[in-house]
């Protein structure tokens, strides 16, 4: 809305060949794309080789929202705190329905495209998924296979004992009893 001239459009191609047309300002939320656009490889379609169409849709949704937020906050003088809160709520809602496989792809995509905000949202989501879980629960959730041999696992289990050997503090306490 701030620009009176017609909006420049950018075309992005996902790994499975779908082409998306977005406004330049939206694409520029991704630092990787911003750098590319500033180096002026304008007309061509930008291939985003490691991101599938459904994921790219979600990424573009995020970028659109960021553009909307920054344009609305510059026109109305909202107190910072409120927008911060709204942003948080929006982020939570945005990540709500995301399952673990989508989350993984989103993390890779936001890392590749260098979108810090989205990357942080993904990291926080994953941290909250891991919190309070046992190893097997984590494996089930993310479909990770336990590739340790029993011997290797045993080795990990035994490698920490050194720190607890001859603890002088404990000795003193138990002998004083």
């Amino acid at each position: 809305m701030s620009e009176s001239t017609e909006k420049k459009m950018v075309r992005l191609r996902s790994s499975d060949g779908e082409v998306f047309e977005v406004e330049e300002s939206v694409a520029k939320v991704a630092k990787t794309l911003q750098d590319m656009l500033e180096e002026d490889c304008a007309d061509a379609v930008i291939p985003i080789t490691c991101v599938r169409a459904p994921i790219l849709t979600k990424v573009i949704d995020y970028c659109k929202d960021q553009v909307m937020i920054s344009s609305s906050s510059s026109t109305t003088n909202n107190p910072n705190e409120r927008t911060e809160q709204e942003r948080k709520a929006w982020g939570q809602k945005f990540m709500e329905g995301v399952d673990s496989s989508t989350l993984c792809e989103l993390l890779v995509a936001s890392n590749f495209l260098n979108i810090e905000g989205l990357l942080n949202l993904g990291v926080d989501k994953m941290v909250s998924m891991i919190q309070g879980k046992y190893p097997q629960e984590i494996r089930d959730m993310f479909n990770v296979v336990n590739d340790f041999t029993p011997e290797e696992e045993e080795e990990i289990r035994n490698q920490n004992a050194w720190a607890f050997e001859r603890d002088p503090y404990y000795k003193k306490r138990s002998s004083s009893k």
């Binding site: 779908e18 082409v19 998306f20 047309e21 977005v22 169409a53 459904p54 994921i55 790219l56 849709t57 979600k58 573009i60 949704d61 659109k64 329905g97 399952d99 673990s100 496989s101 989508t102 993984c104 792809e105 993390l107 890779v108 890392n111 990357l119 990291v123 926080d124 994953m126 941290v127 891991i130 919190q131 309070g132 879980k133 046992y134 190893p135 984590i138 494996r139 993310f142 479909n143 990770v144 296979v145 336990n146 590739d147 340790f148 290797e152 696992e153 990990i156 289990r157 035994n158 920490n160 004992a161 720190a163 607890f164 050997e165 603890d167 002088p168 503090y169 404990y170 138990s174």
Partner: protein, 295 residues
């Protein structure tokens, strides 16, 4: 050509769900997680609570275990994130640790500290204990040697008032936030030693009775301190004024008390004076780790 948004209705949800029993899909998902970059995993592990980082993550798979070998994953060591009580079917941290690591010796927080200090090394920036954790001076000295890069330190109640305490603490030259659960006997000595080596301190909190003499010592050795929080302490009005005037950079002087003793009326401070102190006070304040497990 398809335009993003518009009539496309959440395609990511229908096209790719984990609940698919399709073997192919499972294979793809599996390799995806395996191929998640170590940098990304590290970024995630850094933020996971200490308990899961010690007991769960290393056993998930080889690649996760390998990532945990990086000191960066151990930047924050917050002992308050360890569960102290049994919760339904879940035993507490000490029981789980002893079982998981086949510990045939008694568990001690000092031992755990040594272990974590050796894992994190100079990458450790935050070391926060729970108030009642028993930490031996030896383990603290070892930590000071291994992790000199500490920025936040919250000490537990220290049982034996060790002679070495001032020297140990003075090893942390980049300290920014220093919290104490009690005031040790050699407190002024601790401040003197720390003041000589560290000039980055901006926050001091004590969750114990602190005398006016000790409070002035803080200001003397750290005139540039910004946030002072004394819980459970009482000062005379004149003393409070002097403290306030003593350090120019002061942004927060906090007396939130456990009891009601520090009510404004009990200080017999005039309303305007109280307001002037509280006014200097407004700066985003991260909360004390002793009360807030969230930080």
């Amino acid at each position: 050509m398809a335009s993003a948004g518009g009539k496309r209705n959440r395609p990511w949800e229908e096209s790719y769900s984990v609940n698919d029993d399709d073997d192919d899909a499972r294979d793809i998902i599996e390799t995806k997680w395996k191929n998640l970059m170590p940098e990304l995993l590290q970024m995630i592990f850094e933020k996971v609570g200490l308990e899961e980082r010690i007991l769960s993550l290393p056993f998930v798979c080889k690649s996760w275990h390998k990532v945990l070998g990086s000191p960066q994953c151990w930047k924050s060591l917050n002992f308050q994130q360890l569960s102290r009580f049994h919760r339904r079917d879940r035993p507490n941290f000490i029981v789980r640790f002893t079982r998981t690591y086949h510990l045939n010796r008694p568990f001690s927080f000092s031992g755990l500290l040594k272990l974590l200090a050796s894992l994190g090394g100079s990458a450790v920036q935050e070391l926060v204990f729970s108030k009642a954790d028993e930490i031996a001076a030896d383990a603290l000295a070892y930590t000071a040697k291994m992790c000199p890069g500490l920025k936040t330190l919250a000490l537990p109640l220290l049982e034996d008032d060790d002679k070495r305490l001032p020297i140990i603490i003075s090893k942390w030259k980049d300290l920014e936030c220093f919290h104490m659960a009690d005031i040790p006997w050699r407190f002024v000595k601790v401040l003197e030693q720390l003041g000589a080596s560290c000039n980055t301190l901006v926050e001091f909190k004590a969750e114990a009775k602190i005398s006016y003499r000790e409070a002035t010592a803080i200001i003397h050795f750290f005139p540039e301190i910004r946030r002072l929080c004394f819980y459970d302490s009482c000062f005379f009005k004149e003393h409070l004024l002097k403290l306030h005037q003593g350090c120019e950079e002061l942004l927060l002087l906090d007396f939130k008390s456990v009891g009601k003793r520090n009510d404004r009326s009990n200080y017999s401070l005039s309303h305007s004076l109280w307001r002037s102190i509280r006014m200097v006070v407004q700066l985003p304040h991260r909360g004390t780790p002793y009360r807030n497990n969230k930080c």
